[in-house]
C-alpha cells in the first residue's frame, strides 16, 4: 500500500490461487471463529468443483467468500436499502435496518448470503452468546440482546473490523497454503493488482456482469 494520503480510499480485493488451495477448510473455520457466526451461517465455504468428464476430470477446491461485486445484484433488490456498497468496495449490510425478507439471498448468484435464523451454539460451546464479533466496527454486545443481527441477512465483510485495525481478513491470515492474497486494487503495485493481470486470473460467473472483487487463479 504505497499511497498513504488521507483521502485515498483503498479498493479492497482478494485473489485466491486455486492451485495452492488444498481444501483444508481452515478459512471456513477461522471465519466462523472470527465472526462468531451462528449455526447455518458461514460467510466462507470451500466448494468442490469438477471440470470435464471422466477420464479427463480436474477437481478444484473453490473457496467462496462474498465476491463484493462492483455491480451487486443483491443491493438493487433490497426493499429498504439495508445493503449497499461502501466506498472501499465492500458490500455491507446494515443489521439495524434489514427487515429479513431474504430477497438479497435470492438475488445473489454465488450463494454468498445466509439468513441468521436465531440459533446459537449454547449447547455445544461456552459463552457463545456472551460476545459477538464487532462486524463493521459496531459493538453489538451479547447475542441474546436485541442488537444482535438475529432475523437479518448476514454475509462476509472481508473482515471489515480487522481491516480497520490494519489486519488482513481472517481467512487470508490463516490459509495454510498461502493461497489467498488481499490488497488494494487502486494500487497498481499491490500483489492483488499484479495477480489480477495474470493470464491465470478469472472470476466466477463473469458472464452475469456482476464484476466480482474476488479473483481466482487456476
Amino acid at each position: 500500500m504505497s499511497d498513504n494520503s488521507p483521502d485515498h480510499t483503498p479498493q479492497w480485493a482478494m485473489v485466491i490461487d486455486l492451485a495452492k488451495c488444498v481444501g483444508c477448510d481452515t478459512c471456513t473455520v477461522s471465519c466462523k471463529a472470527e465472526n462468531r457466526t451462528p449455526p447455518g451461517v458461514s460467510y466462507n465455504v470451500v466448494l468442490e468443483m469438477e471440470l470435464g468428464e471422466f477420464p479427463n476430470v480436474q477437481r478444484y477446491n473453490v473457496p467462496r467468500p462474498c465476491m463484493q461485486c462492483d455491480n451487486p445484484p443483491c443491493v438493487q433488490v433490497c426493499p429498504v436499502s439495508a445493503t449497499y456498497k461502501l466506498d472501499n468496495g465492500i458490500v455491507a449490510i446494515d443489521h439495524d435496518r434489514c427487515i429479513g425478507c431474504r430477497y438479497c439471498i435470492t438475488a445473489c448468484p454465488y450463494g454468498a448470503r445466509s439468513f441468521d435464523f436465531g440459533e446459537d451454539y449454547s449447547g455445544e460451546m461456552l459463552g457463545f452468546n456472551d460476545v459477538q464479533a464487532p462486524e463493521y466496527g459496531v459493538d453489538r454486545g451479547p447475542r441474546r440482546r436485541a442488537l444482535a443481527p438475529k432475523g437479518t441477512v448476514r454475509k462476509c465483510t472481508f473482515c471489515f473490523h480487522r481491516l480497520e485495525r490494519g489486519e488482513e481478513p481472517a481467512c487470508v491470515e490463516t490459509c495454510i497454503g498461502d493461497a489467498r492474497y488481499f490488497g488494494d486494487l487502486n494500487d497498481p503495485n499491490s500483489v492483488v493488482s499484479q495477480l489480477a493481470k495474470s493470464p491465470r486470473a478469472f472470476r466466477l460467473k463473469e458472464e452475469l456482469g456482476t464484476g466480482p472483487r474476488v479473483i481466482y487463479l487456476n
Binding site: 433488490v77 426493499p79 429498504v80 450463494g111 439468513f115 435464523f117
Partner: protein
Amino acid sequence: MTHPNSAAIREAALRPLDGAGAGFWALLTGLSLITAWGLAAWGYQLVHGLHVTGLSDRIFWGTYETNLVTFIGLSYGGAVVSAILRLTGAEWRSPITRLAEATALVTLLIGAVFPVIHLGRPERLWEMFTRPNLSSPLVWDLIAVMTYLFATMVFLYLPLIPDLAAAREEYAARGGPRWRVRLYDRLSLGWSDAPQQKRLLEWGVGVMSVLIIPLAVTVHSVLSWAFALTVREGWHSTIYAPYFVIAALYSGVAAVILVVAAFRRAYRLQAFIETRHFRYLGFLMLTLGLTYLYFTFSEYLTEGYANTRASVEVLGLLLQYRFAPLFWSFVVGGVLLPVALVAVPRTRTAAGVTSAAALVVAAMWLKRFLIVVPAEALSLMPGGLAAYRPSWVEVSITIGAAAAIPLLLMLFFRVFPVLAVWEMEHGGVQGVPARGDD
C-alpha cells in the same frame, strides 16, 4: 324460469342477518379455534425466531411465500366474476357478485399477512414505507397489493350502499337492534334511491369494474417478477407474469365456486343461485384450467428443449425425481380431473363443479409450492440438493390462515346482505336488460 320478485330477494338477503342456528355457532367455534392455533404458532415463531420453520440457508423461501401467492391468487375470483362479467353484461352473475367480492377482500387480507409472517424482523416493516428502495420488486409488490386491497374494498363497498340502506330501513321499521340501525345508517351514506345517487353509483361501479382488472393483473405480475427477475433457473422466465395471472384467475374462480356453494346451502339460496351458475362458473374454470395447462407446457418445453444443464436439472426434479409425485398430482388432480368433472355432462352438477373447485384450490397451492421450492433446492454453486419440509409451525399457520377465510366470511355475512339486492332488482348496474336465460 321466473325471476324471483323483489320481496323474495330482500327476504332472502336480509333473513340470514337475523338469527343463527346451532350449526353456525358450532362452525364458528371450530374455525375460531383453528385460527387461534395458527395465531399461537405465529406467536411462537415471533418469540423463538424463524429457526422454528423448516427453512434453511439454501431454501429460505417456502410455505409462507407459497401461501402469499396462493391466498392473493384466490382473491382474483372476485375481480373476474364481478368486474369482467359486469363489463360484459353477463346478467346471471348478479346473485353471486357480493359473495365473489367479499371472498376477494377476505382472501386478500389473509394473503397480505404472509409477507409479514415471513420477515425475520417484522417489527421493522415500517421501513418499507419510510425508506423504500424503488428499484426493489418487493416495494412494487407492496404498492401493488396495497392499491389492490384498497380498490377491492371500494369495489365491495359501492354496490353494498343501496343494500345497506335497505337493511337500515328494515331494522328501523322493526325497531332494532340499535347497533345495526346505526351501522347501516352510517355506512349507507344517506342513500335514498334518488336518480342522482343512482347515476353516481352506476358511474362509480362502472369505473371500478374497469380499474380493478388492471390492478389485479398488476398484483400477480409483480409477485411473479419477484421470482422471475432473479437469475435462478426455474424462476427466470418471461412467461411468469401472465402465468401467475392465469393461475390466480383459475384458483380465484374455484374459490368463488366453493364460497357460493357453501353459502347457497347454509343460507338456502337455491332459488337465486341455480345449477346454471355452477355450470357457467365451471366453464369459466375449465377454460382457465386448460389455459394454465397450456402455459405450463409452453414454459417447460421452452426450458427443457434448450437442454442446458441447469434447466434439465430443474425439470428433472419436477417431472422425474424428488418433486415428481407432487407435480403429477397437480397435473392430474388440479387440472385433468377438474376439467373432466366440468366437461362431462353427467358430473356437471352443483356438487360436481364444487368438487372440481375444491381440487383446484388444493392443487394450486401445490403448484405454487412447486414454483417456489424446487428452484431453490438446486444449488447455484457446485453442491447438492437442499431439502425442505415445512415444520409444524408453518403447517399450523397455513391451516389457521385457511380457516380464517371462511371464519371472516361467516362473520361478514352475519352483518352484510349476502345477495346484491339492488343489482338483482335493477337488472345490473350497467343497465343491461335482464335476459330470460334457461
